[in-house]
């Protein structure tokens, strides 16, 4: 794909492609802006793997914003991604108690956009928490509920497939079973989630 460069996509096209779940758009986003983040992270005492983790998180932030339709860009996509990546990496650096920053790009300086980025990151943190909590809840759910829900919601198996895989007599039976599992998961998840 690198060799056969597709016509350069604009930021909007990239974002639309990302929302549609296009691998092309994702690859483009990766190729276009990863070097910038890589350079930033390695310039600030990080490794290549750190950079990959950071950029992955950046793209998750972007992806989830796009999917929920709440993305409002008031600056260039490049600046947005750099600023998000910068904040995420600085947070990690703070945990490692290093405070020197060497910028390789100009981060967002506008007051309003800065606030927006902070909001986006706060939102991202909340989603992170939900994600971890969900993983934890699923784990505590135990078998066969965990696999059942995973198959249906994550692997997107059909109800028919699931009926066969788990040896239920019919799909209704499987649906009832799924519902029961879901209710147990709900209790586990919300008891934790609302406590916080």
């Amino acid at each position: 794909m690198k060799e056969s460069r597709l016509p350069v996509l604009t930021d909007e096209e990239l974002l639309m492609g990302l929302a549609d779940g296009s691998d092309d758009a994702l690859t483009h986003l990766y190729q276009r802006y990863f070097p910038m983040v890589l350079y930033f992270v390695t310039s600030n005492s990080g490794s290549e793997d750190d950079a990959k983790d950071i950029y992955q998180e950046v793209l998750i932030v972007l992806y989830e914003k796009v999917r929920s339709g709440s993305l409002e860009l008031h600056c260039q996509l490049k600046t947005y991604l750099y600023s998000i990546g910068r904040r995420l990496w600085l947070k990690q650096l703070a945990q490692r108690s290093r405070f020197m920053v060497r910028d390789v790009e100009t981060p967002v300086s506008d007051e309003f956009v800065n606030g927006q980025i902070s909001d986006d990151l706060a939102e991202h943190e909340e989603r992170d928490r939900q994600f971890d909590l969900m993983a934890d809840s699923l784990n505590r759910l135990g078998e066969p509920c965990r696999t059942l829900l995973d198959d249906f919601y994550v692997q997107h198996l059909s109800m028919q497939d699931i009926t066969e895989k788990f040896g239920y007599t019919n799909t209704d039976n499987a649906k009832t079973q799924k519902y029961k599992c879901l209710m147990r998961l709900k209790r586990l998840f919300f008891s934790e989630y609302k406590q916080d």
């Binding site: 390695t42 994600f131 919601y153 998840f189």
Partner: protein, 332 residues
Amino acid sequence: MNMDEEKDIENALRTYSERIQFKQRLARIQASADVSAYPVETEQSGQIRALWRTYRTTLAVAASAAIITTFGSIFLYRSYQQSHQQEQQYRLLSKEIQAVKYSQRKLLSDLNGRGRALSVNPAQVSGSGFMLTSDGYFVTNNHIVLGADSVYVQSTKGEVYKARVVYNDQAHDLAFLQLCDDSAFRPMPSVPYGFNARPSDLGERVYTLGFPREEIVYGEGYLSSGTGYRGDSTAYQVAVGVNPGNSGGPLLDEGGNVIGIISGKQTTLEGVSFAIKTNYLLDAINAIPAEALKGLPLRINRKSALANLSRKQQIKRMQDYVYQVKVFKHKE
């Protein structure tokens, strides 16, 4: 309600699964992307570069501190050296004065009749001295007559008398001579100036007469300190321009009292001269053994006869009692 909660948990689950899938996609793309294609990245790897990047600021601070220290030290050393050189120049200058003085004296000795007779060993020293009593007792500095073979004194009128060293007081740098050994000397009218043992006050107007050259030279100034060189309490510091040859000259106050004897000056400072206090002169006179004086004690004039005279009159009266001392000795 129940449906809502079911929707909530389903949504949460969907979000969860979406993220998992997105992560999987990303991981695929990351794996397929040729990381080494980014030139930035290959350049960046390497521990030394990472270290350099981390400690660059610290290094910069350390380097500038080192530079400042280095140049600061060099600058300080230079300025120290310069001041040191100046000091050396002063020393050189004083040496030159010594040399000039020496050659001058040599020249003077050639002009002098008696000197010419002794020109086989022409190493001479000259200074000043003055009469203590009218019958030929005379005082000068010990350093002038030190190691002398013969001592002559010459008046302003050009009369030369041979003198005998009666007594040396090395501690106070005083020497007492007697002129009456020379038959040519006739007792003079009594000395016009008095010897005042009272300590003089700072700021006292003083003057001196001496022989820095073949002619008598007048110099005036003021008493600037009650102690001499390096706090020597037996001397005064006076601001009078004196030159080699002035040594042994009298230091007089306005009333015509001898308050000291010029003995030296500080070469490194301008206008700083020293004079031995008169009361030490009187002490030294009392210490002269009676046999050296041939039984006749010195009668020192305590009261100045010049008190009411103008400075010019004082000098006119005095100058007959101030002599140039010429010393001949074998060269070592």
